[in-house]
């Protein structure tokens, strides 16, 4: 018997826009029927890398394969009356529509939330855009890099005295997708309880602002503007250190610093690290001292005199045994060898994830024991399920609004 699914019975139309399809993937993974709706020329994300062998092509995008795992795919040309009519029929039989075309586009097509809810009052419409549907920057053209910039996160990344450096992997767009997905679940909860759907307007820039940690509060309460600090220890004992086969990240200072500091200096003493005895002075409990060049250099000399003879794995195990927060600086290819992730069977091998190619992908981001995450089928080929979906849903459109409420 297959396990029940948390989002069983929920139908989602994922309109392929410029800001990807991760939100829809979250619904698919918990069992919703997610239908990717592509224009005849294919989803924009088919053109976003990384690509197989670095060669672009509509069936070569690893990002597309990852973000559309477990979805069905249809082609509809919303520029034609026929395509719009088909979409209205589908929306009448769905619970949620996801879009990221940008402000004004659904209005131009005559497919706004108010129109869609004439036939399906419980429908939720999620509108994800760079800056929001209205406002002075609403029509600004945006890329992941410019959104990281405008959201304030870019300024915090990188090395002092050089240009800020962006977080890798397209994080701004993904932040927007994540908040949009959460907002959809909130609105769907309301729709299932009351029968009333609504529109959601999620801003990617505003989503990025949520990642500023305490930088805004420091500015507001103390008038200080937080700076970036990569390449240096933030304070002695907090940062990246060299070891035999790469680097480790150590957080001997920071939140709950004292006990980690005591554990760290004892570790250095036990292994006879060069200058470990110096770390036992009381001055090492004072943040101003830890921020001095001298303290940072002293700590690095001592720690690395030991760490350079140890591998990342050895340091990780020993630090954790001693209750010191240290982690290896892993490259993305190193994760499949992580023992904990292997134990949890985190990676999923997807056969024909792209035509003719199997891919080993990150799997369940959460474990719901009664309703487990499922990988589902590979991302659809362009139009793979058009006939099947239109045939089965056309008849369902005029039935009363479906409600998941028990």
């Amino acid at each position: 018997m297959t396990a029940p699914k948390a989002l069983e019975g929920l139908r989602v139309l994922d309109l392929a826009g410029p800001f990807g399809n991760y939100a829809g993937k979250m619904f698919a993974g918990l069992g919703a029927d997610v239908i990717l709706v592509e224009p005849p020329q294919g989803a924009p994300s088919r053109g976003i890398g990384p690509f197989l062998d670095d060669r672009p092509g509509p069936d070569r995008s690893i990002r597309f394969a990852y973000e559309n795992l477990g979805k069905r795919g249809i082609v509809l040309d919303l520029e034609t009356a026929e395509g719009r009519d088909a979409f209205l029929d589908l929306a009448a039989a769905s619970d949620l529509v996801l879009e990221s075309f940008g402000p004004g586009e659904l209005e131009r097509l005559g497919l706004t939330g108010d129109v869609l809810r004439q036939r399906n009052p419980a429908l939720v419409l999620s509108r994800l855009s760079a800056f929001g549907q209205t406002g002075p920057f609403a029509q600004y053209k945006a890329e992941d890099l410019t959104l990281l910039a405008m959201g304030g996160l870019l300024f915090l990344g990188g090395y002092p005295g050089e240009a800020p450096v962006a977080a890798g992997g397209g994080q701004a767009v993904l932040c927007g997708n994540l908040f949009a997905a959460v907002a959809c679940m909130v609105a769907l909860t309301g729709a299932e309880m009351t029968g009333e759907g609504q529109d959601i307007d999620t801003s990617i820039q505003e989503s990025v602002v949520m990642a500023l940690e305490n930088a805004v509060q420091f500015y507001d309460l103390e008038g200080t503007v937080r700076q970036r600090y990569a390449g240096d220890q933030r304070q002695a004992g907090a940062g990246t250190f060299d070891c035999a086969d790469g680097q480790v990240y150590l957080l001997a200072g920071g939140v709950a610093a004292t006990k980690f500091w005591i554990n760290t200096r004892q570790w250095m003493a036990d292994v006879g690290a060069d200058g470990a005895e110096v770390l036992f002075g009381d001055e090492w409990f004072g943040i101003p001292f830890l921020r001095t060049r001298g303290a940072k250099d002293q700590f690095r000399r001592t720690f690395e005199s030991y760490a350079r003879s140890q591998t990342r794995a050895e340091l990780y195990a020993e630090a954790q045994r001693r209750r010191v927060p240290l982690a290896p600086v892993n490259g993305p290819a190193d994760l499949k060898d992580n023992k904990q992730l292997q134990f949890r069977e985190f990676f999923v091998s997807v056969a024909n994830a792209l035509p003719g190619t199997d891919l080993l992908m990150p799997g369940a981001p959460y474990r719901l024991e009664a309703t487990p995450w499922v990988a589902g089928d590979p991302a659809p080929a362009l139009g793979e399920h058009t006939e099947e979906v239109l045939a089965t849903l056309a008849g369902a459109a005029d039935q009363p609004t479906r409600r998941a409420k028990a």
Partner: protein, 402 residues
């Protein structure tokens, strides 16, 4: 729908510090009754983390704590007291969701593991958000957002080639990847309860949502191995970077994808349209010279003026804004009423992030400030823990409600 969609949902919240508190903030702001279960004996360390209102340290004065705990209630109870478990079980009977981000085993030591809670409330959802998950050889390993960033590859992919990895400079996994994934999972599980009456255990390992956010990079690396980071550049497009503008440490991010945008950029900047930059392929080939040429023409321009001029010509760009800019200067965030000031009684006003989404029918603003430590203890102890008045009023040392 004039109410908030999550009204009627009650959360018994053992979360503290980072990712956990941000997760339950999402729920409380949207209408759930989130009861933050705290103790004077072991404070949420963010309550004593700077910055503080008026620079004065105090458990109700941290701006950082406040922002992560808006719209919640605070109950103080000493979990080591012999009566604590029974009192909390009475709350669990009336709750929908129980959350924690402790190391595995802590909730079980309180006698509040999933199986025990299920026995008193089969509909309960138990969600744990430990660093590495509830089971496995490294389940007890400890870490923070920064070490999780290193462990998961975020650090590696964010930096300049040949230099030390940079990461985001923040505990990024704590702020968005983990809270949003966890909140999504909890809301999905709540739907399952509504439909079937079946509660369950949710296990979020704080490493895994972060890796999910690097899915394409990790999947590609599984095929071809690790590659050096690219800084702000992209493999298939140039210019794609951050350029200096007037002022100290001021920058503008610019991306040009086609010849039309390139022509517009040249015109606005006054860069001569050189032959070697004419096509997209040429711009890729000569990207070092290209970046130098652009920087030479942006260096003395005001960033905001240049952004407006380039956007007027359809070129994607954005000022690299500081915390001060997003708070005081950004007109778009002001238009969306992103920043909210709310008053804590006896402390004063503090600044909060509203959620980054707006609903057309439901309110999207915050419901209230973060609770003062133990602010709602008497109310919750009487109504939900069903404690006698003498217990609620008890001020003796070693009391239950401490």
């Amino acid at each position: 729908m004039t109410g908030r969609p999550l009204e009627g949902i009650r959360v018994a919240d053992f979360c503290w510090i980072g990712a956990g508190s941000y997760t339950t903030k999402i729920l409380s702001d949207m209408g759930a009754e989130v009861i933050k279960i705290e103790s004077n004996a072991q404070l949420d360390s963010l309550r004593v983390a700077p910055p503080f209102k008026d620079g004065i340290k105090g458990v109700d004065r941290s701006g950082y704590f406040a922002d992560r705990n808006s719209s919640k209630k605070s109950l103080t109870i000493n979990m080591k007291h012999p009566d604590a478990r029974e009192a909390i079980l009475r709350l669990i009977r009336k709750s929908d969701l129980v959350t924690n981000n402790f190391t595995p085993g802590v909730m079980e030591r309180f006698g509040l593991g999933y199986e025990e809670l299920k026995a008193v409330n089969p509909k309960i959802i138990w969600m744990g958000m430990s660093m590495q998950g509830q089971e496995g050889p490294e389940k007890s390993y400890l870490g923070y957002g920064l070490t999780i960033g290193a462990l998961t590859g975020l650090h590696w992919v964010s930096g300049l080639p040949g230099k030390e990895p940079a990461g985001t400079g923040t505990n990024y996994p704590d702020h968005i990847p983990n809270p949003c994934h966890a909140a999504f999972a909890a809301l999905a599980a709540l739907r399952h309860v509504r439909r079937t009456g079946q509660g369950q255990k949710i296990d979020v390992a704080q490493t895994e949502p972060m890796i999910a956010m690097l899915g394409p990079e990790v999947t590609a690396a599984n095929l071809r191995g690790n590659r050096p980071p690219q800084g702000n550049r992209q493999r298939d497009v140039a210019p794609h970077g951050v350029y200096p503008v007037a002022g100290e440490d001021r920058w503008l991010a610019i991306v040009v994808r086609d010849d039309r945008e390139w022509a517009a950029l040249c015109e606005v900047l006054g860069v001569p349209e050189e032959g070697r930059f004419r096509t997209a392929d040429q711009r890729m080939t000569h990207r070092d010279a290209l970046d130098d040429a652009i920087a030479a023409h942006t260096r003395d321009r005001d960033g905001y003026d240049l952004m407006a001029a380039l956007q007027g010509r359809g070129v994607a760009c954005g000022v690299v804004q500081t915390a001060a800019d997003v708070t005081d200067r950004d007109e778009q965030l002001r238009h969306r009423n992103h920043w909210q000031r709310m008053v804590t009684e006896g402390v004063g006003e503090m600044l909060y992030n509203a959620p980054p989404y707006r609903f057309s029918r439901s309110p999207s603003t915050l419901r209230g400030p973060a609770p003062k430590l133990g602010e709602h203890t008497a109310e919750i102890a009487t109504d939900l823990l069903e404690l006698d008045e003498d217990v609620v009023r008890d001020q003796s040392e070693g009391r239950l409600l401490y």
